[in-house]
């Protein structure tokens, strides 16, 4: 039978993939956002698994709020990507270094 550990391991692995994705794809803002989405998905899976195995609905409510905030985060993030692409014609982070110099 499935235990809590199965889901904890799965969401841990998913979280690790997301974090690795952030480091691997530092040049591509869009893939960076996708890796962030994966991290949040791992967190949500963790919350829901805890909610199921501890028989507490609070976990699912919290996952709902995480989804809400993730949706708004991605909306604003994509808007920023679109604006940057419009004004610079690139979203490569290596070429966006006006503030560094």
């Amino acid at each position: 039978m499935l235990s809590h550990t199965h889901f904890l391991l799965l969401s841990g692995a998913l979280f690790a993939i997301g974090v690795a994705g952030v480091f691997v794809n530092r040049r591509h803002v869009l893939v960076l956002l996708m890796a962030l989405e994966l991290i949040l998905l791992a967190v949500n899976t963790n919350l829901i698994a805890a909610s199921h195995y501890l028989q507490d609905l609070g976990g699912q409510v919290f996952a709902l709020f995480v989804l809400t905030i993730a949706a708004s985060e991605i909306a604003v993030g994509l808007a920023i990507v679109v604006v940057v692409f419009r004004s610079r014609a690139t979203i490569d982070t290596e070429e966006l270094r006006e503030l560094r110099e």
Partner: protein, 195 residues
């Protein structure tokens, strides 16, 4: 190994593979497709955890709106792909769709779910139970989340809105200021040739 465990391992394998593909694939359209597959698989896993409402929410709202928006932006931002690269897109899209259908059939069509297996509880279904606590115990947090969404909408629109010069649209301020002398010219039809 029971059917649920088998399903869990299959879904976990698909989920992790899709996640790895999302962060490693060079082509961003394919990465976005893999992200959609990962989210869908996670939704099916949530179904295994009896979080039916959130699972459906993830498919309908998150995949249906947010990730498709993601795909739009990826296609807009990415440079023009040569024609010979388009056929594999269709192939990978078909593969993702087939996997999603297979997962749906495996999870929703299995005997482990359905009315016979429903856990008898005092509050009713998962959606009812969630609603019962969401609008009472967590009402303040719910309202705060609604405000956060509103701010995000306003912010996203304000960021991407731009004024274009030559746009054909109604300008009510000019329309209400128009006078008869500007718009109307009376002729008797004979002294002047029709234009």
């Amino acid at each position: 190994m029971g059917f649920q465990a088998l399903l869990f391992y299959a879904l976990a394998a698909v989920l992790l593979t899709a996640a790895v593909a999302t962060v490693t694939l060079r082509c961003m359209v394919r990465a976005a497709l893999c992200l959609i597959l990962a989210f869908f698989t996670a939704a099916m896993l949530w179904m295994l955890l009896h979080a039916e409402f959130l699972s459906i929410l993830l498919v309908l709202v998150y995949i249906g709106a947010v990730l498709v928006l993601f795909l739009f932006v990826v296609m807009m931002v990415e440079r023009e792909t040569p024609a010979e690269q388009r056929a594999p897109f269709r192939l990978s899209a078909a593969l993702v769709a087939l996997l999603m259908i297979a997962e749906l059939l495996a999870v929703l069509g299995s005997e482990d779910f359905g009315p016979a297996q429903e856990v008898p509880s005092t509050i009713g279904s998962n959606t009812q139970a969630l609603g019962a606590v969401l609008y009472t115990e967590y009402a303040l947090a719910f309202e705060a989340a609604a405000v956060a969404l509103l701010i995000a909408i306003v912010g996203a629109i304000a960021l991407t809105l731009r004024e274009r010069g030559e746009q054909h649209r109604q300008k009510p301020s000019e329309q209400t200021q128009a006078s008869k002398q500007e718009r109307l010219r009376l002729t008797d039809g004979r002294t002047e040739p029709p234009c």
